[in-house]
């Protein structure tokens, strides 16, 4: 198992958000995490990458307990994370956003070139400040930046949120290509239920901080998930 989140409870201050959540991502597979706003999906990803310390439970990555490791240590072990909201370093140029990460590891420049191949739209934008890019361009930059860390697992938080349909298709194509060609595992949080369930080998539905439904992904599961989410 590439990622195993077991019985995790977490929250902010006195507010509990997750109540004993268990989620798994097999090697080289895509797991989708679905749920309404406020269900705790993003909190679960933040806990998995280490931005939020769980009050209870464990996070195991590739057989090793990483619950107490700092986020950058998890990244060094092969966990990648693309947060919600097309986040970037707005006052750095596109190139600096990528080079910043490439500097942190051996083979960084080659990884940067590979990431650029995957998102050719970023090529003409290298000298532009990232804060001036469109939402879709920033999301491509965010995924490219995560890929340069050479992850074996990518935690993707709503990669197509607020992005125009043509770019959504581009991002979905890239996710499938990365998964198939590079064998990277994914834990995908996505509002676009159709894509997420079809692409996923396994899905989890989260409601009020608890897993209320789970099963095998694929075309056949879409109706079940829509019923579970009442959409």
């Amino acid at each position: 198992m590439m990622l195993s989140i077991e019985d995790v409870a977490a929250g902010y201050g006195r507010t509990s958000v997750l109540h004993g959540v268990s989620v798994a991502v097999p090697d080289g597979r895509i797991s989708a995490l679905l749920g309404h706003n406020g269900a705790g999906k993003s909190t679960l990803l933040r806990t998995a990458i280490g931005l939020l310390r769980p009050r209870h439970g464990t996070v195991t990555f590739d057989g090793a307990d990483v619950t107490r490791l700092a986020p950058h240590e998890r990244v060094a072990r092969g966990m990648g994370y693309v947060p919600q909201g097309q986040q970037c370093f707005p006052h750095l140029t596109t190139e600096e956003n990528l080079r910043l990460v490439a500097d942190t590891r051996r083979g960084g420049p080659a990884a940067m070139a590979e990431a650029m191949d995957l998102f050719p739209a970023l090529g003409p934008l290298l000298a532009r400040r990232a804060g001036l890019l469109s939402g879709g361009q920033r999301q491509q930059l965010a995924i490219a930046r995560a890929l340069i860390t050479a992850p074996r697992l990518l935690l993707l938080d709503e990669p197509t949120e607020g992005i125009q349909p043509s770019v959504v298709a581009e991002i979905e194509r890239a996710i499938l290509e990365i998964s198939r060609a590079r064998g990277i595992s994914f834990l995908l949080v996505e509002q676009h239920i159709g894509f997420a369930v079809r692409a996923a080998d396994r899905y989890y539905v989260l409601e009020s901080g608890r897993v209320t439904s789970q099963g095998a992904g694929g075309q056949a599961a879409e109706a079940t998930v829509r019923a579970a989410l009442a959409v």
Binding site: A70, A76, Q87, F89, L100, V101, D103, T104
Partner: protein
């Protein structure tokens, strides 16, 4: 005309001193948001470094030049230690940071008294930094102030190059802009904080070396400068380097010109009134940049 140019140069040289003492603070306060009241004592540490080295190295010129990198390292190490031991535990508590670093400043002042004695001490200026350089007509410019101006320009250029062109500079700017994103991009943000503090405090040490050319060294010399340094950073705009550079020279020139027709005390009052008026009009400072909030 000669008098006016002379006063302008004095103003620029006061600005250079202001810039040097504020440059380190523009990193630790301007970029990181840490109110470090012990910053002045890092300036003092740099100044005492010159005093100690002059005791060990006979030539005043050599000891001064050697003191520049040594003071950078001494003050930088003090800053990194302060960040590691205390400040990193207080990032979400700015008021506690202010009180703790003020306490540290008192401890460092007492330490200086215990080691070097309470009275001020003096260093020798090297021969090549004494006297004046003729410019035109009767106008001459003092060599030590020209040296300080050159040092300030070099320090600004060096810091700008580090921030713009080096991997460390990219990391510092990234951590300032989005700490969590930097962390999940594989950047050890704690180490970047320490290095940022090292550089910021080291620059205070360099300022201390420059100040030995202008007056005596004492345990409280840093305390007298810290308010000016904070003012330059706040008026320049927190998080921007260019704002601090412009403000340092403007305030220096204003003080010099007012002082020429009045007294030093009146000039200080005029400068403070100008700052209060400016901040009423533009509370965010001359330039603005989104910075990391540690509160």
């Amino acid at each position: 005309m000669t008098v006016l140019v002379g006063q302008l140069f004095t103003g620029v040289s006061i600005g250079a001193v202001l810039l040097l003492i504020a440059l380190g603070l523009s990193l630790t306060f301007g970029q990181m948001g840490v109110i470090n009241m012990a910053h002045g004592e890092f300036i003092m540490a740099g100044a005492y470094t010159v005093y100690v080295l002059q005791g060990a190295i006979a030539g005043a010129g050599v000891s001064l030049l050697v003191a520049l990198p040594v003071a950078f390292l001494v003050a930088g190490a003090l800053g990194a230690a302060l960040e590691y031991l205390l400040i990193r535990r207080l990032y979400a508590r700015p008021l506690d940071t202010l009180l703790v670093t003020w306490g540290v400043s008192l401890i460092l002042q007492q330490l200086a008294r215990d080691i070097f004695g309470a009275p001020n001490v003096q260093t020798r200026a090297p021969d090549w930094l004494t006297g004046n350089v003729p410019v035109f007509g009767d106008l001459t410019l003092s060599t030590n102030r020209l040296f300080i101006l050159g040092l300030a320009i070099l320090a600004v250029a060096g810091l700008t190059l580090v921030l713009r062109l080096t991997p460390l500079g990219r990391r510092i700017r990234a951590v300032v802009q989005n700490r969590d994103l930097a962390e999940v991009s594989g950047i050890p943000t704690g180490r970047v904080d320490r290095l940022t503090f090292f550089i910021g405090s080291g620059l205070a040490g360099v300022a201390g070396v420059a100040l030995t050319l202008l007056g005596p060294i004492g345990p409280t010399m840093g305390t007298n400068l810290i308010i000016d340094a904070f003012l330059v950073v706040v008026v320049g705009g927190i998080g921007t380097l260019k704002g601090g550079v412009i403000v340092a020279f403007v305030l220096g020139t204003l003080q010099s010109l007012v002082e020429y027709t009045t007294t030093l005390s009146v000039a200080k009052v005029v400068v403070f009134v100008a700052i209060v008026g400016f901040l009423q009009w533009r509370p965010q400072g001359l330039f603005t940049l989104r910075t990391r909030s540690l509160a």
